[in-house]
Structure formats: C-alpha cells, structure tokens
Symmetry: C2
Subunit: 160 residues, 2 copies
DNA sequence: CCGACGAACTTGAAGCGTCAAGTGAGGTGG
DNA sequence: CCACCTCACTTGACGCTTCAAGTTCGTCGG
C-alpha cells in the first residue's frame, strides 16, 4: 500500500470523525423526513421561510438570505422560485439598488412558518437539545464556531 | 395562528442550533469540494471505497455497507453501479445466501483509495481535528453518540 | 413439495442542487 | 456620456438521491 504515510488518524480521532459524519447525515435525514412528513417542505425551504419570518419587514436581499441559510445563490434562486409558485414568497427588485432582489415573505408564507415551526422545534429539541447537557451544548457551540472558522475564515456572522 | 406556544428556543439554544446546522452544511460542502477537485468522486463514493478497503477480504454485503456508510440501500445500489463501471468495485451474489449481494473492492479501487485517502485525511485534520482541542474532540464524540442515539435508538455500532 | 410471504436488493422516474453560461443594472474611465 | 466591467442574480442542463415498483431468492406452513 502507500508509503507516504501522512499523519494518519489514530483510534480516537477516527472515532471522533465517524461520530461526526454519522451525526451530520443522520441529522440531515431526520430533519428532512420530519419536515417533509409534517409540512411537505425540505429543510432548506424551511430555513428560507423561517429566516425571512425573522427579518425586518419579513424581507431580505437574496444574497443576504443565501449567506444566512448557508446556501448558494443559485440554489436559493431555484428554491425561492418554487416558494413563489406556492404563494408563500414574492420577489421584487430593491428600490434602493436595482441589482438586488428582495425576497418577501407574504401572509400565506408567514402562516406556513407559524404552522410548521412548533413541530420542527420539537424535533430539534428531541434530537439535539434534550439529549445534551448544558455543558455539552456550550461545548457544541464552541466546536461549531471553530470548525466553521476553519472552513471559511472570512465568515463573520455572530455565531460564537 | 397557533397559541400552543411550544417550548421555544432561547438565545443560547438557538445559537447552538445555528452553529450546528452551519457546521453540518459547511462540512458537507467542503469535503465534497475537496474530493471532487482532487479525486473526481463524491464524499459518499469515497466512504464506500474507504469502508470496503478496511473490510475483511475488501468485501462486504450491500446491506452492511449501507449501514456503515449511513446511506439507503437504493442510494448504495446506484453508487456501486457507478463504481463498478469505473472498474473499482465488482458485485457478486453471496455464495452463502443468494439474497445477499457482495460488494468487492478490486485492485484499481484499492489504488484509488490509497491515492485519495492522504489528501482527504489532511482535509479532515485541517477542518475538524486541528481546530479542536483534545477536550473538545472528546466532547464531540460524546455529543455525536448522544445525538445518533436520539435519531436511531436501535443503532448499535461501536461509536462510543 | 408448493405457494405465499418477506428480505435484499435493483430499477426508472421525478425532484433537487450544482455548475457554467447568460442577463441586466450600476459604477467608472476616457 | 458611452463603452466596459463587475456584481447580483437567473436559467438550463446534467448528475445524484429519493421514492415507489419491481425482481429474485429463501423460508415457512400446510
């Protein structure tokens, strides 16, 4: 086999890594499943709706929304088009600067969030918050911060 | 329109949650990007090849492989078909029981893993292991274990 | 034995994300 | 004041995952 032998993973590091990848995939699946079952939307669609629902005027520029939802602009564009077709969101050019597009959560979309959020929050509690102690939650915030910094050092969101 | 008002997330819980979802997405993207760039394969394809490379005889039943890679059997079936087309894997019915299919890593696939693993491990170190202290790594293993148990209580893999 | 049932896949179609190539509005330099 | 450039998207095609239906192989009851 190889003879470069890079800094290989020892048993504990491997365990850390397996544990993390399993968690990543299991969580994604579980949340998508719950939202699909109870609300017929994907986790990303929910994130878009929920993020808009908390924004001033329930309105946000597409590019800002893309950053907050951790998605590409292209992905967001496709998703917002679908949400628009559902009658939950509308788009309008930013009057301050025609290059920007504003995504605006309209009434039916607000109602969708209100109807969906409680069940989703319950699931988040059940899968993540409830099984963890306060100390573990604090540790998880710090871990997330470190990893997110490593992935994208220019990310300056208030996620500490 | 609800007045149930479930146990809502407080500021810290919300921070924990945002931090975790951001990490989940950032990590998935970063790992897929690195593997795609350096080896032309997806993270899931790598997981399949790497898992097979560590199995006895470099052989595993499809259903066991699906569990270890956290994927559905259908997804695995499609992926293994592609890997087979690449000449990295072959399939054969289990001689002990014709209902099972064995996935077998052949020489070219082993070489692919050997060529790809060092760069991937480096990236895992850079993004996850290096930024975290020993204490945080221990905490992350425990957190992963708790969350994975919550998602699937029947999961009995040795992921402690 | 044989017929029904279930487990372990496999397949095809449909939907979502990505990537690359457009479009159109706002600067900016000459 | 107009050519050019860049930014903020938008679009279309392609690839991958999912979901629902098969198919095949054992097994178990009669």
């Amino acid at each position: 086999m190889d003879t470069h032998e890079p800094r290989w993973l020892n048993a504990e590091e491997k365990q850390t890594w397996l544990s993390l990848t399993a968690m990543v995939i299991n969580l994604s699946n579980a949340l998508d499943t719950q939202l699909q079952r109870d609300a017929g939307i994907s986790h990303f669609e929910y994130q878009v709706l929920a993020t808009l629902s908390e924004a001033a005027e329930r309105t946000m520029r597409m590019s800002d929304l893309a950053i907050l939802t951790n998605g590409s602009l292209s992905r967001l564009s496709h998703v917002v088009k679908r949400l628009e077709k559902q009658g939950w969101v509308r788009r309008a050019p930013d009057p301050d600067n025609g290059r920007y597009t504003l995504a605006i959560l309209i009434e039916a979309g607000w109602e969708k969030v209100v109807a969906t959020a409680p069940g989703h929050v319950e699931e988040v509690r059940r899968l993540v918050l409830d099984p963890l102690t306060q100390t573990q939650q604090r540790a998880l915030r710090a871990i997330g911060h470190r990893v997110n910094q490593a992935v994208d050092p220019t990310d300056t969101r208030r996620l500490d």
